[in-house]
């Protein structure tokens, strides 16, 4: 994987089009020659200015901001669809873009032919496309519409097919512009699951979304854009919080973004002899809040020691946001006998396979004495979203298989990968 993006001092200006420009027609170009030179500055609309940005391989970055702030333009610059007016844009790796409801399709030709054309534009060979065609058709799940001209598609079908092509092209960088908002619930869930898996493989992602919950669960980092400039950037939840308060207040404050950590008495307590600094979920070696069900991952707890301790237990507890307990484990139960805790460091709890049903989970993390005296007890230290192609109910989602002898079945494409049926004769 090699998908990185670097912008330095990028500016993008557009010329006004339509009635504001006299140069839409040849006639106009001839008769407004003189005015043309004088009015160049007023005829321009600056969509982005002074943008510096660096996205490293495997990072997921969200772009947030009000409409017209330049998010989509930024995405198109990364995709090479637009060229910067000044400054430099360097992008390495294969980029696929899902911009403004689906990839670029030609309305007059069939979905299948569009897949071929799109795939080739994304750098796939004909044979590769043929090989992946079934996978694409399955994922899009639009039935016989695949052989119909794209112009008769509903916007949902359009997005389904666009998404299916873009992810099948095996990109190093995936650009996503609000497409998840268009599909139905089941499709959005499958998209999210696919994105989570791609992230785990190290695909770099840039996402434009107004869904701040999605932004905070999906992205490591966020950029808050307004009127063509970066207002602030940093950890996704901090930036999202800043944007939320700006949007609510309608004003711009220049105070630094507040970390979204809730330090009040109800969710965190303890004597402070040992303090938890950060709690992170690592998926495929990278920080994330999104994990595909059944994937390996780990929780990393970084702490600092204020008083050296000889009695200490590290523990984590998973629960649903409605309070349902899911699982709890600690070093004491695992048979770790404490000897000495004197230096700052980190403790990881690793899961070979996170067999949780899709949904949102909260993780409590604590460092306490064996008798329960809390040094630092942090409730809801981390919010994790588990994705899955199928909406399994409950909290436990073990890999499983149905065996049957009597009944006859038909399995929808959508479920074929997630379930397997063995039919014994």
């Amino acid at each position: 994987m090699k998908g990185s993006i670097r912008f330095s001092n990028v500016r993008k200006a557009f010329r006004w089009r339509g009635s504001r420009s006299p140069h839409e027609t040849i006639k106009g170009a001839f008769f407004h020659r003189k005015t043309r030179r004088r009015r160049t500055s007023r005829e321009q609309f600056v969509a982005l200015d002074g943008i510096d940005l660096e996205v490293t391989t495997g990072e997921a970055v969200a772009l947030i901001g009000p409409n017209g702030s330049g998010k989509s333009t930024l995405l198109k610059l990364i995709g090479g669809i637009l060229k910067p007016t000044s400054g430099t844009v360097e992008v390495t790796g294969r980029v696929t873009a899902l911009i403004e409801v689906g990839a670029g399709f030609h309305p007059e030709i069939s979905g299948r032919e569009n897949v071929v054309i799109n795939g080739m534009l994304l750098g796939l060979g004909r044979r590769e496309i043929e090989e992946r065609m079934q996978e694409i058709v399955d994922f899009a799940d639009i039935g016989p519409f695949i052989d119909q001209p794209v112009k008769i598609y509903s916007s949902g079908m359009y997005v389904r097919l666009g998404f299916a092509v873009a992810v099948a092209a095996d990109p190093d960088i995936l650009l996503i512009d609000e497409v998840l908002a268009v599909g139905d619930e089941a499709f959005t869930r499958r998209c999210l699951d696919r994105l989570a898996r791609m992230r785990q493989r190290g695909v770099t992602m840039v996402l434009v979304s107004h869904d701040l919950d999605l932004v905070t669960s999906f992205a490591d980092r966020a950029l808050y854009l307004d009127r063509g400039g970066i207002v602030t950037e940093g950890p996704a939840d901090a930036v999202a919080a800043r944007y939320r308060s700006d949007a609510a207040g309608g004003s711009r404050r220049d105070d630094p973004p507040q970390p979204a950590r809730e330090d009040d008495d109800k969710t965190r307590w303890g004597n402070g002899n040992v303090e938890i600094d950060t709690v992170e979920l690592l998926v495929g070696g990278k920080r994330s809040r999104l994990v595909a069900g059944g994937s390996p991952c780990s929780l990393r707890i970084r702490y600092s020691v204020n008083e050296p301790m000889e009695d200490f237990v590290f523990g984590v507890a998973w629960h649903r946001s409605d309070g349902t307990q899911v699982s709890g484990h600690n070093t004491d139960l695992a048979g770790f006998e404490p000897l000495r805790l004197a230096t700052d460091g980190e403790v990881c709890c690793e899961y070979d396979s996170l067999q949780l049903a899709p949904g949102e989970y909260l993780v409590d993390v604590a460092i306490h004495a064996r008798n329960g005296l809390a040094y630092d007890y942090w409730c809801d230290a981390l919010k994790v979203r588990v994705t899955s192609e199928v909406e399994w109910p409950g909290v436990w989602s073990p890999p499983h298989r149905w065996r049957s002898t009597g009944p006859e079945w038909r399995i929808g494409d959508e479920f074929r990968r997630a379930t397997s049926i063995e039919h014994d004769e």
Binding site: I26, I81, I99, A103, I109, L121, R126
Partner: protein, 266 residues
């Protein structure tokens, strides 16, 4: 040269797009691909009837006028069809240009190539017409017929250059398409398609203007090979190739100048 390189890199995609273009043209009809043969046949039949029985043009040499006209008209239809389609090609493919990274060069090239194939499919009809008319003793068979392939090279270059320029200009200037229509009309009548420059009895000035028309050499070279059965004089060949080269060079220059703003304007 960069244009050629881009086109070569995407040759597989161009093949797919050209195929799609041709499919779209013929699929809707019951007769399918045979439509490409029927179209020129119909045209030929109409000319044969109209110019043999209705109008009887004064024409030197006593050669069958319908065949003369047909052999001049075929390359012209290639040129004018491609140029007309070229003025819409980038706009029609706007969704691809605006949402996928897609070199805009592809679309004018596809337009030209699909019209070229269209033209090549009409050649058997032209060939057959020559065979039939020479068998009937109306006309001696033009043994120079294979030279059409060489005569098509300047046509291809000229058409390519024109389509590149017009495709990109019509994105930026929306009245380009209308203008192209008028210009094509003018060009049609000032090119020696329905008449021949040889033995043309017109005022000297008009004759001079007509010879200055860059397409004149192309039409003549093509028709000499396809119909008259003679090899055009070298200077005429040279002129045709120079016209082709200049058109290609100019067209790709214009394209390059406007290329970067195509996506914004589409």
């Amino acid at each position: 040269m960069t244009v050629i390189r881009i086109l070569w890199r995407h040759r597989a995609l161009i093949a797919v797009l050209v195929r799609r273009d041709l499919d779209a043209r013929y699929r809707a009809s019951v007769l399918g691909f045979f439509w490409s043969l029927i179209n020129p046949l119909l045209l030929l039949a109409v000319y044969a009837v109209v110019f043999t029985y209705i109008f009887n043009p004064r024409f030197p040499g006593g050669d069958p006028y319908p065949l003369f006209l047909f052999s001049g008209l075929l390359p012209w239809l290639f040129f004018s069809g491609a140029v007309l389609d070229g003025s819409a090609t980038l706009i029609d493919n706007g969704p691809l240009l605006a949402k996928v990274m897609c070199p805009p060069e592809l679309f004018p090239a596809v337009t030209v190539l699909s019209h070229l194939i269209h033209h090549l499919l009409a050649l058997p009809v032209l060939f057959l017409a020559m065979v039939v008319s020479s068998a009937a003793g109306l006309h001696s068979f033009p043994w120079t017929f294979p030279l059409i392939v060489v005569a098509l090279v300047p046509w291809l270059l000229t058409t390519g250059g024109a389509v590149f320029a017009i495709s990109v200009l019509s994105v930026h200037y929306r009245d380009m398409r209308d203008l192209v229509g008028h210009l094509l009309n003018l060009l049609f009548f000032s090119s020696p398609i329905i008449y021949s420059l040889e033995g043309l009895q017109v005022p000297v000035i008009l004759h001079r203007i007509l010879t200055l028309n860059p397409l004149a050499s192309l039409v003549t070279v093509y028709r000499d090979a396809a119909f008259a059965g003679r090899v055009s004089p070298p200077q005429l060949w040279l002129t045709a190739f120079v016209v082709g080269g200049v058109s290609w060079w100019l067209g790709t220059r214009v394209f390059a100048a406007y290329r970067e703003t195509v996506v914004e304007a589409v």
